[in-house]
Each structure stands twice: as C-alpha cells, then as structure tokens.
Symmetry: C2
Subunit: 635 residues, 2 copies
C-alpha cells in the first residue's frame, strides 16, 4: 500500500521524486498516520495538517545537516515517517516504541526535543548562532503554530532573533482561518511582491525617495491616512517585519509546489525570515477536518466512521471538575475560570458556554493567565486557573511572586498530575507538589477520588489565599458523586482504616492503591492504618504523628517524584517533631525522567502497583500478632 | 525645604496645584529621593525618571479608586511620596520601614505588589475585567518600561488585552533614546493626528474608501511601496496597534503639561490605549543622568560628588565570577555567556567587551535566554547562563523541559542566592535549591567562599549535563583567590573539622558560620565535625552517612527555605538509608516570605547568626567527654 513510503529509508530519497510523486507520497503518509493513530491514539489533526509542509521541508533542506525544529512537536509524525522510522511507526507512543514527540535520543533528525509550546525559535536561534560561531554553513528552520506564537517566549525569541540578524527561517504554521481572511484578497499579490528577490533592495530605495520628499501637511495627512488602512491589508506581515523578520506569505501549506518554492526563496535570503503558511488541521481525513479539536489528541478510533472507541469508564476527574465549576458558578458570583488554550481539555467547555463573561481563554500564555488571575483576585473575584500540571510549570514565578506573595485567593485546578501515559516525559505532571510545596501561603490538596475533587474545589473557593488541587488524567475511580458539596476542614486528613502494624499514608491517586494494599496485607496478618492525606500542605500534623508513633512504620504513597514530594514533607514533619524512631519509606517516582507508555505499564516499571507495594512492605514487617489489642492501642 | 511636598498628605491635594506648582513639587520630590537614596541606597535612576509622570498620573487619576500599577515597581518612590508616605520615607528599604517596591499591605495606593518584570499589564487587565464585571467605573493604568516590555508575559498580556478590548491604559515608559530617534521627525505630527478625537472614526472611513478603489496593479504597487517606507515612520506605534491598542505618543515624559494632556485623552478613549512616554533615567541629578546604569540600584553615595561610599570589602562573588569567566573563555573556545539585561549586575561587563561574539544579552527574557542556551548547547557550545536566583524562577519550565530533559551541558550561574537584603521579598533568592533539586540530571553546587566559586565554575564547565551554582549577593569572605583553577570531584563534600559530638553540615554562605559555631562550641566542650557540603545534588552520601552515624546528631545550615531545601535532602538520604537513629535539625529560612531589611538584621531575625546557632545546639547536646578517643572513632 505504501509503495513510495517504504522506499524512503532516509529523507534524501524524497529529493529524487517529482511533484506528482510527492503528492502520492503525501497520501501514503496520511494513510499511515490515520491507521496508526486509529490504533494507538495520538495527535492526529496537527500531524495531518503538515504533511505537505514536512515533505517540502525534507525536499528543500538536507536533514540532519540542516536543522528542522518542530515547536510542541505533536505534528512531527510525517517527519518521523520520512526520517527512517517508517518500520517502527506502528509502535508510536507505546512503551519502548516511537515517541509522539521529537526526541534527539530517537533519531539524529530530531535535533531538538519538544513537547511544551513556544520553545522552537529560541532553540533555533541558539543553533544558528552556534553555526556562525563555528563558521559552518547550514539552514535552521523552526516550525511553530499560530497558537504557540501567542506564548510569550516565542515573542522574546522573535525580538532577539530580529536583533541578532542571523540566517534563520521561522515557518508560522497558521491553521486558524480567521487570520487568513484578515489578510484578504491582496494576499496573493503581496506574496509575489514580497518574495521577489528585488524586494530587499527596493525597500531601501523607496525609503530614500520618501525621505527627500517635502514633508508638507497635505502629503503627511495622505500618508497617515493610507498607513492606517494599509495596516489592515498587510496583517500580520507588518508585525513580524517590525521585529526584524522578512515576511513571506501567506502560502497555501497544502500546495507542495508553492511550499517548496517559498522555502527555497527563504533559504536564499540573508537574515531572519518568517514564512506565513496556511494549513488545515486534520487535512485529508474528513472527520478530523470537520472536528479538528476532537482529533487534536485522540484515543483509538474507527477509521471509517471516525467514532472514538469508547471505554465503559467512570466519569473523568476533568468532567467532574467541569460540572462542579458550573454548579459553583451558579451560586457564587465571584467564581471565574481561566484556561490557557485548553477549554476542552480542562473540562470548561460548558462553563464557557453558560458563563461566557466569566470565562477567559488567554491562549497559550500560562504566565499571563496566572497574573491575570492575580489582577482579578485583587479586583474582588475568585478565579480558578485550570492548567495541566506540566504546563503550569511555565508560570512558576507568577504563582510565587504574584499570587503567593500577595496571598491572593486564586485556585489552581491542576489536571494531568502524575503519569499521563503515552505523551511521555514532556507531559507527565510529576513536579507540582515539589515546587508548590515550598511556596509560602500555598495550600495544596489532592483528591483520592472524583467525589472528593468536587468537595475540594468547593473548599478551595472558601479559602482566602492560594490553593492548588492536583488530580490525575482520565477516569475517576467510579465512586458515587454526592449531590451536595461539602467543605473539608483545611489541613485535615482522613483515616480510612486502622491497624497497629504500620501506617500507609497516601495522597491523591495512590489512596485507592494503599487501601487495596492494606486489604492484601491484612490477609497476610499485617494490619495497616490507611490515611488519605488530602492535604500535602499543610499536613495534618497531629494525625500523622499519632499514627506514626503508634505504628512506628510509615509508608508514603504519591504519584509524583519522591524528591521534595509528599513523602519528604512527612520526613520533614517527623524530623521537626523529633520523631526519629519512626521508619519511613516513600513510594513514588524516582529522580529521573519517565518515558512514554501506558499508565499501568509505567506504574509497574517504577514499582507502584499494589502487589509490588505489598511485597515490599511485607518484607519490612513481621506481623505483630497483637491486632486483637488494636482497640486498646488506639483509645 | 519640601514646602509643597509636606502638604501632600494625600494625592488629591495635587489636583489643586497649577503647573508651576507641580513643577516646583517635582523638584522637591527629586531632592527628597536623592537625599534618601544617598543615605539608604535604592533605585535612583528609575525613580528620578518618572517624577513628572507620577505627578501627572495623580493629577489626572483618582488613586486608589483609579488603579495605578507600577511594573517592576523600583520607580515608585515619587508615588510613595505623593500617597501619604512622605513622613516615613526616610525609612525607605530599612527593616520595618517603607518598602522599595509597591506593597498593598503598605498602602491602599499600592494596588498591586511588584518586583519582577513585565507583570503589570496582566494585573491591570485583570482589574479592568473585574471592574466591568462589577459594573464599576474607574481607570486602570499600568506603567511599564521599554525593558520590561521585552519580557514575554508583557506580550502575552498585550495580545490578550487587545483582544478583550477593555478600557485600559498602558504607559510605555521609554527611556532608551534609540527608540525615540527611530520615530524621527514626523513623531510630533503623528502624535497630534493620532490623539485627535476624530482618529478612530477617520480610520474606518479611509478603510472603506480604499476597499472600493479599483485594485489595479499600479495602485497596489504604489501602496506596497508606501507601506514599506511608512512602516519606519511609525515605529513602534504600528506594532502596538496591530495588537489592538490605540497608540498615543511619543510624549516628552518630563513635560507635565504634555503628560497630563495625553493621560486625559487616554482616559476618554474606549478600549486599550498605549501611551509612548519618553523619559530620561536619572533625570534631574547630573551624576545619574550621566551614568544611569550605576545609579539604577545604588548603595549610599555622596550627593555633591555622586561618589558611592565604598566599603573596604573583599572581592564580591559577582566579581570573582566575572573574572573567572574571562579566564575560562580565554582557554576554552566553547564557553559562552548569556545574561538577561544584567551584564553589569552579573559581573559580565568585561567578558562582553573581550568576547562580544560569545556574549548574549537577551533583554528581560529569562525564558528565551535559557532555551537559547539549550540551542547553543545542541550546537556544540557550553553556555553559562548568569541570572539572579529570583529571576531564574521565570525560566523554571525551560530549565526542566529544555535543558534537564535533554541533559544538555548548560551552566546556571545563580547570583543573589539567599537573602539579598533591602530589596525584600520579591528579590530574595530563597527557592532555587528547592526547585532545582527535584529536576532530574541537574547538579547543584554552592561555594563556601569566592575562591571555591571559581573552582566550581571550572568544574561545571567540564560536566556533560546541566549544572547550577548558587552564590550570594555581595562581598566574599576575603579568602585568597588561587591562581590555578581546580576541578572539584562531583558530589564530594569537604570535611573542615572533625569532632565526635555532632556534625554541622553546611552549604554555601553558611559554611563559614558553621565553622565559627564549631569553634565556639569547642570552647564549651562540645566537639563538632564541620562539613562543607559543596554539592546539594548529588549529595556526598558516603561522607554524610559516615559522620551522621558517628556523631548521631546532624545540624544542617543553608541560606534557603528549609522546605524542600538542603536539609530536607539530608533527611531524604538518611531515611532512604535507614539511618533513623540520627537526629537532624535544619537551620534555614522558615516557610514564609521574608521582608526587606539589612542582611544581618534579617539573619538574626530568623535565628541564623552564629551565636543563635550555638545557643540552640548547646541546648541539644551534652558534651560527651570522649573527645580524646576521637582519632580512634574516625579511623
């Protein structure tokens, strides 16, 4: 079926093909991507949108000598297929298989690892500078979406690149039709004019002529009037040109001939160039074209119908968060919601529809989103900032400096905390407890189940300072969702089971596992106290000290790095209270980056299944045979 | 002397003054600022640059009903003087006195706390949205420098504010003459035209006319040519207008009449407005005008001569860092230096002069700076990113996602780590060990003195992955600086003194104090082992375990929050090795924000003087009277 694709063992093969063959190859790539993502899940729409662009890039540039950097990187599937990974492509996003993002360790053609947004121009500029310092001669190309371009660091990089004047190509992969329409009917003409090799010289000449013209008021008024109108004719080129880039485009990103043409021109221009490329997310697969959001990142689906294969799973944490937000907003006028380009992913779609004036999508701009919340809180509102754990890292300083220092009432709803699975190391949310834990004034909670999540959200909105709630990706545990929202006492844990032999002190997604482990241990004659910590900060000091003292052995459980995590907070507590007789073992993620793969396989790999916990704990404990006295001990 | 100023108990008083009186008041404010900063130190140039602007703001707007937000906030001295803090102004930056930055807790006129750059537009937009949601009616004004405007989050905020179309005024306080010159001779005319109330309507009319014109190639070519030339005539207005702002200016920021005029116009315009204000840093004080950098943030100085009062202090860590960079760059071609608008502050001025092509000042753009380093490292270089501890927080995600995940050889030279003194909570560097400590692949060091700093830098540049070196603000300990650079063994601590009673395990600036404490304790019959940890990550596990086991008591010392800090890493180590018999006490900064004040007073307040440590430790230890057997114990 993939007649041409299977011959492309290296990207140089592409350069021997004619345009008709490239077109055919594009079709084969699309089919391969659709079939693989239908099986494994993945980022379908972004990858389908850049098939022709990817072909053209490898046609014009000589990877890996020339450097191609994919911003975010979820659109790199075609790039992977064309750079020697066709055979392994079926393992996409599976443990030990091909990553869903560029990874230098995977291929020399992945020159820079990406996953988070808006990093590519900075990295590309660094490579361009390194090239010139070494006196080498190659092209550096960053491909960045119009969404990623709203991230502040992309602007910082454009601003610096324009100043440095290095040879550098930025491809703005624009899949928002609104921008294309703004450009309007003049775009084709402007494009031809601007990509004309005479352009750079011509500009200077005109400038000199205009400088010499008598600057009488009539002419100036005319100029001024024209300027305002013209501005709208050339959006967004003017914007980039003011930052020091030569703007080429817009170009139809699905016309291979046009794309190779503009790339070749860009290659010959000195200094930074921005190519405005118009593409369609999901291109070539009708269900994805019609519903690019749904197919942005998607689970396994049926190719013919486009139906996502549904699991009979309980309500997700995300859904419960979204429902609770709607519920709370109905009764509390002060509740606002902020998202950074993730209204669907964070479960806020319904909130946005019902309370449009209280919903703020700031784009891929986590830093601004957090400080916007600070401003809203200063103005008397109680904003809930819903950002995935890994992306909230982008706003570390704003959380500390703008929210915590001023002790402002802002709630952080941190979805995708823990191991997220197939998206891998750039997307796991494994550091939030560590960095939030050392921020003064911050309260940090994690629900043991989706029912507790709704109570925690209600509780957080009663607090007068910053509160973070972290919860995992995907389905909840399937518990009953109570109708009435409850306020949880701040800093109070919950005892789920009492046993005199040891204490299992768990937080968030690990509470259920600790309970299960306690059940198995009990069958072995080891009786465990199980505590749902609920709060990572402040800890329920009294309760933890009580059970730690009684049992003498504490096992902490968290889906988070153990370095500076929940277990370490328990160590700090016990040390500060002089409880040195208590043995502590911390279950969690080791101090390394975690690869991609299914959640369950990764949990097993890092020793976090119930059975693994039981085996370890049983090895540490000799049953005391005193469990009859349990009641006495605790009274 | 301050005839008018002493009458301004509240900003509304200003509104009864005429322009001549305002001018006189401006002079009084300048004198007050100069005299106070000459005594206490502080941010002189920024505050002198905005005296007229501040007067005009309080003349036109009704603070605190109208909200005035100072980006960074180091320019807020005049604002403080005009908002009821004239009498206390002599306590500026002293412990318990007036803060050098806006603080809501200090005054209702400080509506948003600042200190870090580029936050004001986000906060202002939040307040504007809150205002409209509540149906209130007041103005919101953010004052942001041209430097702060290069920070990505300012762009994120402009982008969002332009989209939201809220009434919002951004004053771009532009003190770089280069921008003013770019605007050129047409600026006065354009300004009059653009601030004309007819402007908004006129624009639409012209657009409609142009749309109806026959778009023949000749006209289009003319338009295109004009456009390119015009672009340069209207920089930077066009840039902001494309983001949805109405651009007013440029205005002479020292002409009170002009400034009040443009502020009044801005107040009457619907939607977001950007006022381009030209000011001179250090205005009105000749030494500061001539040398605005030196007087940006300055210690006590002589008003008449402008001479900074020099202390006979040892070389600073900053100077040693700068010298070592120059030394290393001479022998190692791969060494590059990156700073974020702090070449002087980080000690890189000489490096920049000697190796201009290997030095990169990215502006106030820490995120881009770090990922630029990632790109440079990918291109075969070894960049040293020199950013103050508190500002590096802005790049948390880039350090983790772009550097550590790819294990790239980048060195972070983290100056101003620890308590920085008078600049207060926004500037103390107290969180770096916590957030860097949980990043996989990161090596973290802290030198005990300035001589060790140079060796650490040389060592870091031999590593193949990320390394962070944190060191304090100000003078070193005055030790000898060895000529030859040494490579320190990675993860190895240094035993400075042996004693069997207890172990003092210190890092960075606290090593000297631990040694001193050991001396005092020895006089009391308590013999301490003193260890200079050198590495916070990886810890010297073997050495620490050895002395912890022998002495049974470990006291850790760090100038950093104890939450998730160095001492907690020691707890983690001891726990993971099952050393539960060892008692640990952690000296460090508690889990709260630390106010401004002198370093020594703050260290005392938080119990970190030698005597306080000795008193605490002596209370925990009964001398063992076994010190004669010391040699035996250790062999």
């Amino acid at each position: 079926m993939s007649r041409l694709l299977k011959k492309v063992h290296s990207p140089y093969v592409i350069r021997s093909l004619n345009f008709a063959q490239l077109q055919e190859l594009a079709g084969e790539i699309r089919q391969e991507i659709i079939n693989t993502v239908a099986k494994n899940g993945g980022h379908l729409s972004p990858s389908l949108g850049v098939v022709e662009l990817t072909l053209a890039l490898h046609y014009v540039f000589n990877s890996p000598v020339d450097k191609i950097i994919w911003d975010v990187g979820h659109q790199s599937y075609a790039h992977k297929l064309l750079t020697g990974r066709y055979k392994e492509f079926g393992t996409l996003r599976q443990i030990g298989g091909i990553s869903g993002f560029p990874r230098p360790a995977e291929s020399k053609h992945d020159v820079f690892g990406t996953g988070h947004s808006s990093t590519s121009i900075s990295a590309a500029l660094g490579m361009a500078v390194a090239r010139d310092l070494k006196g080498d001669n190659y092209s550096v190309v960053a491909i960045i979406g119009d969404g990623a371009m709203t991230g502040g660091m992309a602007f910082e990089a454009l601003n610096h690149a324009g100043h440095m004047k290095k040879d550098l190509i930025v491809v703005l992969n624009d899949n928002e039709m609104s921008i294309a329409q703004n450009v309007g009917a003049l775009s084709g003409y402007l494009n031809r004019l601007r990509t004309d090799p005479m352009y750079s010289r011509g500009k200077e000449e005109i400038e000199q002529i205009l400088r010499k013209l008598p600057a009488g008021p009539t002419l100036l008024r005319l100029i001024e009037k024209l300027k305002d109108s013209l501005k709208y004719l050339v959006v967004p080129g003017m914007f980039f040109e003011e930052l020091g880039f030569i703007y080429l485009g817009p170009v139809d990103g699905h016309d291979i001939k046009a794309v190779t043409g503009v790339l070749q021109r860009a290659k010959s221009i000195k200094g930074p160039v921005l190519i405005h490329m118009l593409t369609k997310k999901g291109k070539g697969y009708k269900p994805a074209e019609d519903n690019p959001d749904k197919f942005h990142g998607v689970g396994p689906f049926d190719v013919a119908s486009g139906e996502v294969k549904k699991k009979n799973a309980p309500l997700s944490y995300t859904e419960v968060f979204g429902r609770t937000m709607v519920k709370l907003a109905g009764s509390e006028r002060n509740v606002l919601a902020i998202t950074a380009a993730m209204s669907g992913g964070t479960g806020l779609t319904k909130f946005a529809r019902l309370f449009p004036e209280r919903f703020f999508d700031v784009g891929i701009a986590e830093q601004h989103g957090v400080t916007l919340a600070a401003g809203l809180a200063s103005g008397g509102y109680h904003p809930v900032v819903a950002i995935y754990s890994t992306f909230l890292q982008r706003a570390y300083d704003q959380i500390l400096h703008d929210i915590c220092l001023q002790n402002l009432p802002v709630v952080f709803a941190i979805d995708r905390a823990g191991i997220v699975g197939e998206d891998g190391p750039t997307h796991h949310g494994l550091f939030d407890l560590s960095y939030l834990g050392s921020m003064p004034n911050m309260i940090v909670m994690a629900p043991a189940n989706e029912n507790e999540l709704q109570h925690m959200l209600a509780t957080a909105l009663k607090c007068h300072g910053p509160v973070a709630i972290r919860y995992p990706r995907g389905a909840g545990v399937g518990c009953e969702i109570e109708d009435e929202l409850k306020l949880l006492p701040i800093g109070k844990a919950e005892v789920l089971r009492e046993g005199a032999d040891l204490t299992l002190l768990a937080v968030g997604s690990m509470v259920g596992k600790a309970e299960e482990a306690a059940g198995v241990l009990s069958g072995m004659g080891i009786e465990a106290t199980v505590i749902n910590a609920r709060f990572i900060k402040p800890l329920d000091e009294e309760l933890i000290l009580k059970y730690a003292t009684i049992t003498g052995k504490v096992f902490t459980f968290e889906e988070h790095v153990v370095k500076n995590g929940f277990g370490s907070a328990v160590l700090e507590l016990l040390s500060s209270k002089g409880k040195k007789e208590v043995m502590v073992h911390r279950f969690g993620i080791p101090d390394c980056f975690i690869e991609h793969g299914s959640h369950s396989l990764l949990m097993e790999k890092y020793g976090l299944t119930v059975q693994q916990a039981v085996n370890f704990i049983a090895g540490q404990c000799v049953p005391r045979k005193v469990t009859k006295k349990l009641k006495l001990v605790f009274d």
